[in-house]
Structure formats: structure tokens, C-alpha cells
Symmetry: C2
Subunit: 351 residues, 2 copies
């Protein structure tokens, strides 16, 4: 394998870049003639053919069939993304749209959901926003609200401003002021711990306190455990928006491929796996074609970026589209929205 992509000389690189760009723009296989016509090379089609043949030998290009032009392979795209791509600067409008959308609401959930919509619209691709289970995140406070006789709404606020609600059913009777006290107690006791840690402590406490007969404490623990349990089963943490946009892509014009694609997007588990793996990565990530199970089968490309505060990634935002997409535009878009979300979350934490 070559280092730094130096296996290609300047001309070959330019040709590859032009082919990728033209192919992304038109969706068609690129012929030597159309390369010659574009004017960036002072070469005849025949010369370009030689260069193209070399690129094909090296695995950067492929021919759909003998009498067609060339299209980039996975490897070709990868090289383009790593060494040849010059990211477009976002337009004023794009930046404004994102900024406005992010500052529009204060509820993180809502902001994230809107972000996937905004992204899908700006990119004209499928927008994805992922927020993994809160089990790993620290809480700021926990409150309990009496909803009905034996129903209590627990409100958990994370240090990152995320609010999680859960209705807990219990046969124990709580009065309003008891709940008030319990909330204050738990918030004070467990501030800054993760839900997972809290649950473990509560469980340990049950064991220790069993002998004792502090009724109030027992009730507190019981309620606390209920509130913390199963928060992760809340499956509203993946937003996939703009699926209709893939209908416009010619690569999915075949109904069978379309159907498979839709089903793939509905199968959220795999997508979650993939996005989870993007979570730890710091910068922008671009995955194409054969580089992951998910993208391999469907010839997808994914541009993703984790967002969150400082050292703690909270989730992943990105787009999914056909492998042939404008990475040069998608990359800064995803990057920008990721930064915007991170900024938002850090602001929330300040409070």
C-alpha cells in the first residue's frame, strides 16, 4: 500500500480528481473525450486514455463495461477524499440556516431532531442524528412529579442539558412533598454520576438497608431504581430524516435496489452499530462502500461527525447517501453542524 498517496504522479492525480468530480456531477461513466473537452488538460483523448488505463490498473477506476467510460472505484473515492478533495466553503445561507436552527430551541432532543431535518434538506441526502443511551452520561438533577395516584413522572436532567422523562408506575403511595424531598435527596446525592453508576449504588443500598426500617429511604430507593431502569430502551435516540431524497438519486432508480435501501434504513440496529463506532472518533469521518458492512451492501457513503462537549462525545450526526456524492460539500456541512451542536451543548452545560 502506498503512503500518502504518492504512488500517483501529478497528472494522474488531476485526472482522477476530474473524473471523480465529473462523475459525481453527472452520475455517468466518464470518457477520455469528455475529459479532454473540459479544458483542464492540454492533452488529446488518446493520451488521457493511457493515463486512465494506468489508473484502472492501479485499482482507482473501473469500467462498467467495455465500451463505456470509467467510474471511480471505492479506492478511487478514498484517494480523492484523502488527498484530492478541496472542501467547498459553506455558503452564507447554509451557515445561517444551521445556526438559526440550532439556536431555535433549547430542548436538546428537539434540536437534534431538527438537525437531522436541516441536514437532509441542505445536503439533499438522508440526514441522521444519533444520541446513544444516556446510561453513560452524568446527571444534574432528578425530579419526580405526581401524575396520578400510582404514577410518577421522573424527570432526569443531564449535565449536558438533555432531559429524559419516564413514567414510573408504583404501588407505593407518594405524596407531593415526599416526592419533592426524594428528588432533592437524589439530586444532591448523585449529582454528576451516570445513570449506570446511580443504579448500581441504589441497588447496593437496597441490600445494605434491607435490615433497617427507614420507610422513607426504602421508598426513595425503590422509586430511584424504577426511574433509572430501562431508560435505554427508549428508542427515540436515532433520527433518520429525508429518506425520500434518495428517490431522486439515479443509482436507486431500480425499484428493487430502492426497496432494499429503505429496508436498510429502517433496520436501525445496524445503523446504530455503525454510528456507535463513529462515536469515539474525534474528527470528521467518511466511510464509503466496502469500508463497513452497512455501506458495503448498499453502496452507500456516510459522512459523520461526533458531537458533544469537550472530551465527552454525546452522539453522532451525519448523512447517508449513494457513494457518489459531493463529499467536498457534504464534509464541511456535516462538520459545521457537528460543531454547532457541540457548541450548543457546551452552552447548555455552562448554565
Amino acid at each position: 500500500m502506498s503512503q500518502q498517496g504518492e504512488e500517483l504522479d501529478g497528472r494522474a492525480r488531476e485526472v482522477l480528481r476530474e473524473i471523480v468530480m465529473q462523475h459525481v456531477a453527472t452520475g455517468e461513466a466518464i470518457s477520455s473525450r469528455s475529459l479532454a473537452k473540459c479544458g483542464r488538460f492540454q492533452l488529446s483523448p488518446a493520451s488521457l486514455r493511457n493515463v486512465m488505463a494506468d489508473l484502472e490498473d492501479l485499482g482507482y477506476l473501473a469500467q462498467p463495461h467495455t465500451s463505456a467510460g470509467r467510474i471511480p472505484t471505492d479506492r478511487g473515492y478514498r484517494f480523492f477524499i484523502d488527498y484530492l478533495m478541496t472542501s467547498r466553503v459553506l455558503t452564507q445561507l447554509e451557515r445561517e440556516t444551521i445556526d438559526e436552527q440550532v439556536s431555535h430551541s433549547t430542548e436538546i432532543d428537539h434540536v437534534l431532531h431538527e438537525a437531522s431535518l436541516t441536514l437532509s434538506r441542505l445536503a439533499d441526502q438522508v440526514g441522521v442524528v444519533f444520541m446513544p443511551t444516556l446510561l453513560q452520561f452524568a446527571i444534574r438533577s432528578m425530579d419526580f412529579v405526581l401524575v396520578a395516584e400510582n404514577k410518577i413522572l421522573s424527570v432526569i436532567v443531564g449535565t449536558n442539558g438533555v432531559v429524559v422523562n419516564k413514567v414510573v408506575e408504583t404501588r407505593l403511595n407518594f405524596k407531593r412533598d415526599e416526592l419533592e424531598k426524594i428528588g432533592r435527596f437524589i439530586s444532591g446525592e448523585f449529582f454528576g454520576l451516570t445513570l449506570d453508576q446511580i443504579r448500581r449504588r441504589l441497588v447496593r443500598m437496597t441490600e445494605e438497608e434491607r435490615a433497617m426500617h427507614d420507610q422513607m429511604l426504602q421508598k426513595t430507593i425503590a422509586l430511584g431504581i424504577e426511574a433509572v431502569n430501562d431508560v435505554h430502551t427508549n428508542d427515540n435516540d436515532l433520527y433518520v430524516e429525508g429518506a425520500a431524497s434518495i428517490l431522486t438519486k439515479p443509482e436507486f432508480s431500480d425499484t428493487m435496489a430502492l426497496r432494499k435501501t429503505f429496508l436498510a434504513l429502517q433496520e436501525k440496529e445496524k445503523l446504530i452499530d455503525l454510528l456507535n463506532s463513529c462515536l469515539t472518533e474525534e474528527g470528521l469521518q467518511i466511510l464509503i462502500g466496502s469500508e463497513s458492512d452497512f455501506t458495503h451492501v448498499h453502496n452507500f457513503g456516510i459522512v459523520a461527525k461526533s458531537y458533544g462537549s469537550h472530551n465527552a462525545p454525546l452522539g453522532v450526526v451525519g448523512i447517508i447517501g449513494p457513494m457518489r456524492m459531493e463529499y467536498a460539500r457534504m464534509a464541511p456541512l456535516v462538520d459545521y453542524i457537528g460543531r454547532a451542536l457541540s457548541r450548543k451543548i457546551e452552552e447548555e452545560e455552562q448554565l
Copy 2:
């Protein structure tokens, strides 16, 4: 226009029924020959052709082209639905699936969302659940939770058990026990009123109290108004699930039609309008083809039913699919899930 659909004699009715049923089953135009073969008529194809020609003259059938069989028109479907259809009884499994799903969670939002999924799976169509703004519904209680310095989470519980959260930002400073008091005050004062009524009262109070200098009351009012305002902008009240299922329907095999259909489903405003109009109707509603703007353009059929408690409809549940669908199966399905949701909500109200 004929009353009671008596314009057709017994034989014509049977022929129409058979044609609709066969067409729904196969998706193809029905020929006189295939009618004769089905055995339900002791007639030759030629005789059936005469009947079919009559039905065509009356507008119940149409021919896609000269040398094709007949398919039902909107009018034909309408007649079938009103006079000819005999609803299938739900299978044990179907009923169990619905019952289980509905009793699975206590959070109404969650139940509704799941309902649209369940429906889409059982029906193999697009499942829709709509819950209109809460402005018209009565509240049971209102509580406020301090999330951050100047951020307060309001928790509104409706008499029907629906819980709405909203984060309110304010420059006023509230202490925990103040919030506690305010919640108690508002819950007591406004129990059973609708959000709309509450807002109006609060606004009136502002005016009346302006002269006075009861700081606490002013703060209460300010917070109350904020909490009640814009609840309806929360757009999470329409669940559309199973859009991929329309990919399997042969009528949408054409990519253009497919694309339009998806875009239509994404345009939620129109859908909301339509469902809103179903809200007041008591029983099951079936809308097809030209009978509404929404269904007209895309040749959709919609089976919908409002759910809620006793006299107060809370929302609408239904399915959307191609006009050619098994109404005889869809109708009881939607009906049953509507009843199940209503039951659930009434149970919640008991508490």
C-alpha cells in the same frame, strides 16, 4: 344519485363485488373470462360482458385500454365499501398483537407511536397516528421543575393522561419551593380547563393584576403563560410509519409515482388537515381517490378512525395505502385499534 345503492340489481352487485375482490387480490384488470372461471356465476363470459358493460356505463368500472379487462372506479370502490363489503373477522393473532401492544406501555405518546408501527405491520400499509394539539384538552395538573438557573421544565398532565413537557426560558429567578407552590396553585386553580382557556385567563389576570404588586402572583402568571404558549408548535404529534411498505405495492412500481407518494407523506400539513377532518366523525371512515384532495392526486385510500374518551375525540388513527386495498380486512383492523386506544385512554382517565 341513487339511494341505498339500489340502482344495481342482484346480479350486477355480485359481479361488481367479485371484480373488486379479484382486482384487490391480483392488482390486475379483470376479464369476463376470469369472472366466469371463478364459478360464482353460472354464466358465460359473453353474458358477463354485458353486465360489465352496464356497470361501465353506470360509472362503476373502467377499462385501462380497449383490450384489457375492467378495474373498479372510485365510484365502484365506494359502492363496494358501502353496500357489498363484508368485513373479515380479525384473527386471534391480530387482536392479541394489538392488545398487547396497547397495554405494553403507560405513556400515551409511546403507545400511539407504537400503534402506528403495529398498524403498519399488520396491515402492510402505511400506519398513521395523529394527535392534535393539546390546546383543546383539559389538564389535570401542571408542575415545574428547575432544570438550570434560568430554565424551567413545565410538565403538563392532561385529564386523559397525556404528558407534555416544555422547557421554558425565563430571566426571572425561581427557587425550587416557589416552583412547587406555583405548580400547586395553577393545578388547583385551573384543573379541568383546557390550555386555551388557561392561557386566556392568565392573560386576563395579567391585565387585572398589573396595578397590584404581588410579585409572586406576577411571576406565577408569567411562567404560566410561557408554559402554555406554543405548545401546539410541538410537531411530534403525527406518526407516520411503514412508508417502505408502499414499495411493495405494484401500483407504485414506477419511480416517479413512488417519489411523489413519498413526498406527499412527508408533507405533513396536508395530512394533518385531512386527519383533522376525520376527528369529529364518530365511526370508521374510509376515504378513497377523488373524495379528498390528499387521496385524489395520489390515488390513495385511507381508512381512519378517531379515538379518545367518550365524547371527546383525542386523535385519529388509520392507514394509508393504494386505493386498491383490502378494505374488508383494513376496516376491522383500524376499528379495533381505535377502540383499543380509546379504552386505554379511558382507563388512564379513571385514575
